[in-house]
Amino acid sequence: MIVDGNKTAKSIQYTLLIALAVLTLLPMLLALVGGFKNLAQLRLDLFGWPDPFLWENYVDVLHPKRSRFFLSLFNSMLIMSTTVMLGVILSSFAGFALSRIKFPGRELIFNFFLVGLLFPPAVAILPLYVQLKSMYLLDNYFGVILPQVAFALPMQIMLVRSFFKQIPMELEESATIDGCTQLQFLVRIVIPLSKPVLTTIAILAMVGSWNSYFLPLLILNSEKYFTLPMGVMSFASQYVYNWPLVLAYITLAMVPAVIFYMLAQKYIIEGLTSGAVKQ
């Protein structure tokens, strides 16, 4: 009986997971394959294998004269890496202070950060715009980077803090006797030990920044600053009648994000669960 119950549960589990996987993968697959078709075939036979098999769309997207793909890629990379670096550094420092240094008002400050979790960026967009304008950060990389870091920080601090809290007190005392200052303890002991959680927040920030569309659209006006998602939109409106070309562009834009995820998925799961479950 119990075995049967398990079997049913298992099969439901698998069905659901397969359905979800198909739902996620199918559009990506269609975009990938669609890029190898010509317009006529795409219209007539959406799900079919490309016939003839064309490389031109992909080649065109990558051709500097026909698209700004590489410029957008560079912009996205720059914004993403700065966002990630700032986020990891700031959340490590804040997480350390909020978990391992005792000072009055510590919990209050932490809760203040947590309130940030309840705040969807869209709500803040108008004051944010005004603020950035007064700081001359419109049409500037930092106009995108700083708000992205700020909106990611609450979640990052929460994860980092709960991870740091689990590092035994004795390690800190031992390091103190060994001659570490608090900063050295953070850099030499805590951060190396916190790779799982730091990788998690880095990946989340990477993907968030990579996919971000609304904020860059609002802040960046010159085409030379356009990120990949904006590049997709601008490319799509430019070649509105050549869908295979647009699909090729979309596919190429996805590739970096997919690679990060595949490389780091082990750490993401580890980091997300390690804070929640006591060892």
Partner: protein, 368 residues
């Protein structure tokens, strides 16, 4: 090598809890001092104050004749071994041992030399490239010891280093630490709640309770001449037997026991004539059978055969129980009635009324 002096050391936490009261300890160069007591007695707090991990509320701490109250732990020239080893999980054993030296900017070849020497002393040369996770508890504790040794500090501090090990390993490591003390000739301060470790390792043992020092002496003196009932009961396994008796001239009687006092005992107990006191006698000072002037009779309730010795739990009259330690050679059966001779000379008598000292320390003092 260094002397450590604690002078009127107090620890009061911010919530008002007074954890350590007026502790005065003189620790000589190369001495092995044990702080022992039940949990919450202030022994760990005292050690942590010596290490500099806790602030000293009042009093003076001297290491090598220099007042170090306000000196940072890293500048006190001490090394500490923790109960849970506190090894850095992401570093190899070699890096763990080298870390303290690296932070002090000791040259690389000097570090290498010292780490290898320490590893040799502790027989962990073959573990140097491993990570702490790959070691057993005993090996980890060796590494923790090694990390202390390489620093060649003035004072070694041990915070219950063997508590996480199983009984057999604890025995082995105890011997190891004693050997290490002989070899290094260093000043060591060792905290434990295990009185066997205290007795076997210490040159000097400090027994603590409720934040007060109860007694400070050599292990044998603590065992033979406890100053109060707590120390008498704490040192020794199985613990000392206590029974209420009334002093009547040269006899102490009660709870089914009769002890004929020696002249010296009688002189000291004069003021207690007619009063009830607590008689204390160790399990090995009871002998089975024969006639003597100090005896008791009882029924055997439990027999524990340990091989080299036998422990008997004897009921005197249903209410009072005593423990007897004897040698094998006699076939003890449950519910056997036995007569026990008490070695009166080795008996102690404790005041049943608590003495409250001006400092706040409360004890049942040992009259004789």
């Amino acid at each position: 090598m260094a002397k450590v002096i604690l002078k009127d050391i107090n620890k009061v936490y911010s919530n008002g809890f007074h954890a350590v009261h007026d502790v005065n300890i003189d620790i000589n160069d190369r001495e092995f001092v044990i702080l022992v007591g039940p949990s919450g007695c202030g022994k760990s707090t005292t050690l942590r104050m010596i290490a500099g991990l806790e602030e000293i509320s009042s009093g003076d701490l001297y290491i090598d004749e220099k007042r170090v109250n306000d000196v940072h732990p890293k500048d006190r020239d001490i090394a500490m071994v923790f109960q849970n080893y506190a090894l850095y999980p992401h570093m190899s054993i070699y890096e763990n041992m080298a870390f303290g030296l690296k932070m002090r900017k000791v040259p690389k070849d000097e570090i290498d030399k010292r780490v290898k020497e320490a590893a040799q002393i502790l027989h962990i040369e073959n573990l140097l490239s491993r990570k702490p996770k790959q070691l057993s508890g005993g090996q980890r504790q060796r590494v923790a010891l090694g990390r202390a040794i390489v620093r060649n500090p003035k004072v070694f501090l041990f915070d219950e280093p063997l508590s996480n090990l199983d009984a057999k390993l604890r025995g082995t490591m105890r011997v190891e630490i004693a050997r290490l003390h002989n070899q290094l000739q260093a000043t060591m301060i060792y905290v434990t709640h295990d009185q066997i470790e205290a007795m076997t390792l210490g040159d000097k043992v400090v027994v603590m309770k409720d934040g007060y020092i109860q007694q400070m002496d050599t292990p044998m003196n603590l065992y033979g001449n406890p100053v109060n009932k707590f120390v008498a009961g704490f040192m020794g396994t199985p613990p000392m037997n206590f029974q209420n008796v009334t002093i009547k001239g040269n006899v102490a009687e009660g709870s089914g026991i009769k002890i004929t006092l020696t002249d010296a005992q009688m002189a000291k107990l004069k003021a207690y004539d007619g009063k009830q006191v607590s008689a204390g006698f160790r399990p090995e000072n009871l002998h089975i059978g024969g006639e003597s002037q100090s005896t008791t009779t009882g029924t055997i309730e439990v027999v524990e055969t340990l091989g080299s010795e036998i422990i008997l739990y004897v009921s005197l009259n249903g209410e009072n129980r005593i423990v007897v330690k004897t040698t094998p050679g006699f076939n003890f059966k449950l519910n056997d009635k036995i007569t026990l001779n008490i070695n009166a000379e080795k008996c102690h008598f404790f005041d049943n009324e608590e003495t409250v000292h001006p400092s706040g320390k409360v004890e049942n003092i040992c009259i004789v």
